[in-house]
Symmetry: C2
């Protein structure tokens, strides 16, 4: 019997990136239900799939708008008819401000900002569009990533935004550390009190992250949530306890091309397919479903080197296997299309339409 | 004054991948001269640039044929008129054998094999093309990657190939560990003696790798060399002593989008641009030319988090910088085009035509 993975390899080539639409549908439903239960709007982050086809499934399930990480992504989704887009990123530079203005002319778009230089550049986009640009202030509540570091800075930036005729202060953007919700709550409460002191209020309080689905609803005042990875899931999400193997919708279909030594093997997926993302130290670069004891120990660009020493059964050359990647978002970013399957049948290809939109 | 990088960012967006054609030309010349001096043919590996435009520069300088790592890459280069292609990879599976046969019908192509299962599948390609397919035996002389592990296996595989009417035994493919040339030489000599015993000879002995340019010519009997990375160079090549900063032709042009803390900064290039390739533990994910003391300490997908604690001068938000990646091959693999510059002017775009050809 030919496996589904082998049929995908035969029809679309090996390696291919395969998604199971039934699992996708279940993941989409789960996210939507979790948001409903927590009383927040679901604004999925499309960076994971970069596909208007997948985003349409999320919208049909009840998502209110989408999140993009790049202006170029937002342009692709606007072109595909999505009209409520949050770009959770500092946009700056003359080319981008011009493009943002053009986008705002046709689409409801909100951007994030975490510093005065970015805020100072944004009004030009509103002026180009002929209507104010909505801006949320990104706040860093302990993760050490983007975002203002103190509530006072957040309030100051909100006032700066609100003072500009071509901008509209819309609220706050958070990506809370999973283990510091109290700290995040205190930060948020202080900012909101500070806003009130200046006659402002946050219409949007946007939280984010698939790992934070575990505690969705715990942050008082949150109005919406941005989760990306949950649509496909991966080893990282399994490791942090928000997904099981059955929730993993995406596999890299790969072929064993060599068995150079007794305890060694090679698959035709290396760092140019699975990426060198370690998933925060998961051990190996992916999980082979058919040989869970195998370790993808190291990479060349087009070789994945397998340590088979712990495997009782070992694959033969020519065998097609399915690999759960460490991190799906960066894997999808490598390919132009996803091969969609359902119920052991190949459905067709889904373009990764916003892949390569770096800027 | 606006820097060249800032102009690239303005015209092509930030981030962009920029190459300096003068440096490319110098690197191409250096490789060609090194091969000439060593008395081996230059068969550059196009996996680094995936661009027929760049390969044409290499061909014009004297390269004899090209090396591809994927059948899909070979198809793109054949379409662009390259007619002497070595695919240094085990090709197998019915779809690929069919495609290989079609390619062989129009193009001189040789493939590598390191096991009998792969060899058994290859004659069908020759049959489809109506002419024998040339095959080289890949030998592992200590690197623990692809390749037969012993000279005896190499000879056996060569005999297997030579026994099949639709195949032609062409020789041997090596990728010697930089520090074990004597071991490689002994392996090679043993194989060649074994071939003679069976009335066979290796027309091609293909060596590989940019790091091995340091000892090019040292392996007696080598007929050609496959080097990829040298065309652009990167931090890895600097670390192993085959390139200087002035030899680095490729930079990621990025913009500082945040300075959240005194010693922190964020550029708009994360793991989806620079990739998570550590370059074998170089420390940080790239070298910022304008701030060499800055450390690209960690990544999100679209954020590069800078540790600026060692920097006397620190960048401001909006500043455009140039980053030498750890590993250029995987960076080029992320983008659809390279922005070509020369002599402080933008020349235009070069398509990465074989990007995304996974299979």
């Amino acid at each position: 019997m030919t496996t589904l993975a082998a049929r995908v390899a035969r029809e679309y080539g090996s390696p291919s990136v395969m998604i199971d639409l039934d699992v996708v549908a279940r993941n989409v439903r789960r996210l939507q239900d979790a948001c409903a239960e927590a009383g927040v709007a679901n604004r999925p982050h499309v960076k994971t799939h970069k596909s208007p086809v997948i985003a349409s499934i999320q919208r049909a399930a009840g998502a209110q708008g989408i999140t993009c990480q790049k202006l170029g992504e937002a342009e692709v989704f606007a072109q595909a008819g999505f009209d409520d887009i949050l770009i959770s990123y500092n946009i700056l530079g003359p080319d981008k401000i011009g493009r943002l203005g053009a986008l705002l002319g046709t689409t409801q778009v909100i951007v994030a900002a975490d510093n005065p230089t970015v805020v100072a550049g944004l009004p030009e986009a509103g002026a180009i569009a002929g209507r104010p640009l909505g801006v949320v202030v990104e706040c860093d509540t302990g993760r050490g990533r983007a975002g203002v570091e103190t509530p006072a800075e957040a309030v100051a930036l909100a006032r700066d935004i609100a003072s500009r005729p071509d901008l509209r202060f819309e609220g706050l953007l958070l990506y809370a550390p999973e283990d510091r919700l109290a700290q995040t709550q205190a930060f948020l409460d202080t900012v909101r009190a500070g806003l009130v002191d200046h006659g402002l209020s946050a219409r949007i309080v946007s939280t984010g992250g698939t790992p934070n689905l575990k505690t969705l609803g715990a942050i008082r005042g949150a109005t919406e949530h941005r989760a990306g990875t949950v649509v496909f899931n991966d080893r990282m999400m399994m490791a942090c306890g928000v997904a099981t193997l059955e929730d993993c919708a995406l596999h890299v279909v790969a072929t064993v091309v060599s068995r150079a030594g007794e305890a060694r093997g090679i698959v035709d997926s290396g760092s140019k397919t699975l990426t060198s993302d370690t998933g925060g130290g998961l051990g190996g670069f992916g999980l082979i479903r058919e040989y869970p004891q195998a370790r993808i120990a190291k990479f060349a660009e087009e070789h994945g080197f397998l340590d088979l020493s712990a495997c009782a059964a070992r694959p033969v050359v020519g065998e097609v296997v399915r690999i759960v990647p460490n991190h799906v978002c960066v894997v999808v970013n490598m390919v132009d299309r996803l091969v969609a399957v359902r119920n052991d049948e190949i459905v067709g290809e889904i373009p990764v339409a916003a892949r390569g939109k770096l800027a």
